[in-house]
Amino acid sequence: MGKFIKRLFSGTIGVTIFSIVIAFIMGGAILLLAGYNPVQVYMVMIEGVFGKPKNMAWSVIKATPLIITGLSVAFAFRTGLFNIGAEGQFIVGSTVAALFGYYLHLPPLIHIPLVFVGGAFAGGCWGSIAGYLKARFGIHEVISTIMLNWIALYGHNYVVGMPGFARRTNISCDIQDSACITLFKNWKFSEVGRTWFGAHPILRDIFKTPLNSGFLVAVLLVILVWYILNRTTLGYRLRAVGFNKDAAEFGGINVKKSIVLSMFIAGMLGGAAGALQVMGVARNISTLAAMEGYGFDGIAIALIGNNSAFGCLFAGLLFGALKFGGARIQSPPVRAPMEIINIMIGTIVFFIAIPRLIRMIIRWREKRKGDGDA
């Protein structure tokens, strides 16, 4: 038993679990210091997530874009690139999706995939700009993606305000129904739907939310990314470049092409997240005063998920739950600031950054035990 725990905790999963536990403790301590009852706050949070089926649906909805931006960052990480630009790729994806969704009039069967692919492709192109700048000019992707994020943001704001597309100040027209992926979007408000849901209150509750097929797509993308990275020559090539680009180059792999391609794929994921958000939840785009943070959250998710595809799925769900549950604690009776969530996320990431600490603790305990035996 002791051995098992030791093995678990010296591995990466152990570090992650440890960090999450510490984060809850730290969060509790800070709440306590600030004069809140941490037990009560956590209860409200848990209640907020698991209390009602509706809430769980909301958590999943919140998690969907985060899982995918997490995948985007993780994919880039695995290939040796640091994609701070998921944010901008998300924005570009959502902008293009909104445009395609509003201006095209097509049957859903064509419209939905077209909007999705359009958003993803646009995100991909946006990402590959950073890849190209790195491959061709040696500009570090951290800088170029930061710049591209802002360019994307202002471009997005311009599009929102375009005459003909703006519905009112700061908000664009809604996409056509045919591009929308909210489940039962019309039926649930129809006569039949309402009667049916009247008979099934739990389902009615769930479908009150904009539950959509985005989550399914996210899961498919997780599997796809896992497959590409671990089972294909493309994944082999990109990982080789990520681990050691000099050796990859020596082995005949075109490093520059790989960098661009890798950023393209990461960007596609970011763009896909943006597109799904528009198609499933928002249905339009609005002026952004600042970054929304989907991409930055994606970085944390990738780190918490240890840059593995399935890790991102779990970390994304955790995030979604924390975000949704966190918003709950602001209302009476607790009225605790929801930013405690950001502090907790920061703490998780902080401890994930220092796996040495845990190893040191384990070694120290062993040593003490050894001394005790002697």
Binding site: R231, T232, T233, L234, Y236, R237, R239, A240, F243, N244, D246, A247, A248, E249, F250, G251, G252, I253, N254
Partner: protein, 512 residues
């Protein structure tokens, strides 16, 4: 011979044990050094020489053992203590900061400064100049390290120690980067230092240097002290067998062969280095079927850039590279591999292996997108495993498990993985760049016999090495590179170390 003062032990280490995890790098080592002597530490790569000296210098803490310096028991918990006791160390890999000047490097940590810690570089430069004149160690105080020769860098390292008033100098493999002539000069410098009252501990695995320079020699094998001997009363052969633990033959067995037609032709090649200087400057050579052509030269004369150009990793500015008379100038690495040119790169960690990949994954690095290892973009793990297993068997890679991370293998086994990968491509030309750097004797023998085997299969081999002995032992012909040009080509049977050394220092005559 300098005046060795036997009444005073300058350094005494008793029962030093140093472990890295489960590895015992130093296993109860004793070492006694007298004032004014040159004491050699002899041992193979990985024997534990550097570790022992790092313990003395305070970079490592021993697990047990005692250290006495000039009679006092000292706990050397950090280099400052060693420095204050008069110990200076020149590390195997120079500890110099390339963008800093000579003076800045020398004074770092013991700066001359005025109020508010403002540096007085002028004064410091003068002090540096003064010491360098006192010990006949010429340097230019204002030049940056990245712009000076390796020889001068080494003098800077020694000056760093002398600037701190060191009277015990530890020199870790100092001659690895020098020509035979420079080595001779270097030995004079060491002698000079002992005349001025310094004590020198000289780490090396070159027997000849010990005979030339040292008074006493302590032999270390696998972390244990084997013996301490008076150098005058022993032979190179005896030292060698104590070092390796069995009698070794330095002679590589090799049948005479008649080389065939040229496989590789290089014509008037010009290649620039990272600083945009001409590193290879009008170089021409030929490597023929069934021969090993050794490229001798001092480090930094264009070897690295030449090999990179040959393997498609660096742009050729002018001139041509032909394999089987086909022009492969400025083709990409993929094309060159496909022209049956394979390479053992000079830097295993950097170029040779993806250390975070498994051994299997490394073995297919050049062929992962070919059948049977993949089809239609999907990897075939069974085929990869079978193939890797076969190579692991044939090349006796240890541990015999393709799923371990390549980075966890020993240096010798990493090199075997690379050789297995490259040789199994059945290349017509094998380029081996510093193939034995950092390996122990067993692994070196293995690498050497692999190269000879290629040659005996009627393949062409280009061997680039800084070890002149290695070049002389293995090659059929020897080309000497100096400042990016071939300054002479001789048949190995006619070669002698002196003339080669002269050519390596640029003193040879032009001939094609």
């Amino acid at each position: 011979m300098a005046d060795v003062d036997f009444t005073h032990t300058t350094v005494e280490m008793r029962g030093i044990v140093k472990k890295f995890g489960s590895l015992v790098a130093n296993d109860h080592i004793d070492l006694t050094v007298h004032k004014g002597e040159v004491h050699a530490l002899l041992g193979e790569n990985g024997a534990g020489k550097t570790t022992l000296m790092n313990v003395l210098y305070g970079l490592y803490q021993p697990n047990s053992g005692e250290i006495f310096i000039k009679g006092d028991k000292v706990e050397v918990t950090n280099p400052n203590i060693a420095i204050s006791r008069g110990i200076g160390m020149v590390h195997q890999h120079f500890m110099l900061i390339p963008p800093f000047t000579v003076t800045q490097n020398i004074i770092l940590g013991k700066e001359t400064s005025g109020p508010f810690g403002v540096l007085d570089i002028q004064k410091a430069a003068e002090e540096v100049k003064a010491i360098s004149e006192q010990y006949d160690l010429y340097v230019d105080p204002d030049q940056k390290i990245e712009d000076i020769s390796v020889g001068m860098q080494q003098r800077v390292e020694i000056l760093k120690a002398l600037y701190r008033n060191a009277d015990i100098l530890i020199l870790d493999e100092p001659t690895a980067v020098l020509t035979p002539q420079e080595i001779r000069e270097f030995i004079t410098i060491i002698r000079n230092l002992t005349f001025q009252g310094k004590t020198v501990i000289l780490i090396t695995h070159k027997l000849r240097e010990i005979k030339q320079a040292a008074d006493y020699c302590t032999i270390i094998r696998r972390g244990k002290r084997i013996d301490t001997v008076e150098v005058e009363k022993t032979t190179e052969q005896e030292l060698a067998s104590m070092m390796v633990g069995r009698s070794v033959s330095f002679y590589v067995k090799k049948e005479a062969r008649i080389p065939g037609e040229a496989i590789l032709q290089v014509k008037d090649l010009v290649v620039r280095d990272n600083r945009n200087l001409k590193a290879v400057d009008g170089l021409s050579l030929e490597v023929r079927k069934g021969e090993i052509l050794g490229l001798a030269g001092v480090d930094g004369n264009g070897q690295k850039e030449l090999v990179e150009a040959l393997t498609g990793l660096r742009r050729v500015e002018s001139g041509g590279i032909f394999v089987h008379e086909r022009d492969v100038t400025n083709r990409d690495p993929r094309d060159i591999i496909d022209s049956k040119v394979c390479t053992i790169p000079e830097d295993r960690q950097k170029r040779g292996l993806v250390s975070d990949f498994t051994v299997e994954e490394n073995i297919i690095l050049e062929n992962f997108d070919r059948k049977p290892f993949s089809s239609r973009g999907v990897l075939n793990f069974q085929a990869i495993r079978d193939y890797a297993g076969k190579l692991i068997d044939t090349f006796q890679i240890s541990p015999p498990d393709g799923t371990v991370r390549a980075g966890t293998l020993s240096g010798g086994n990493q090199q075997k993985v690379i050789i297995a990968r490259e040789v199994s491509n059945d290349p017509d030309l094998l380029i081996a760049s510093q193939p034995t750097r950092g390996l122990d004797v067993g692994a070196i023998e293995y690498v050497h016999s692999s190269l000879v085997a290629q040659r005996d299969k009627d393949k062409a081999v280009l061997l680039v090495s800084l070890e002149l002995d290695e070049i002389m032992d293995l090659s059929d012909r020897i080309a000497v590179i100096y400042e990016g040009k071939i300054v002479g080509i001789v048949n190995a049977v006619d070669a002698d170390e002196n003339t080669l050394g002269l050519m390596m220092a640029g003193g040879g005559q032009e001939n094609g």
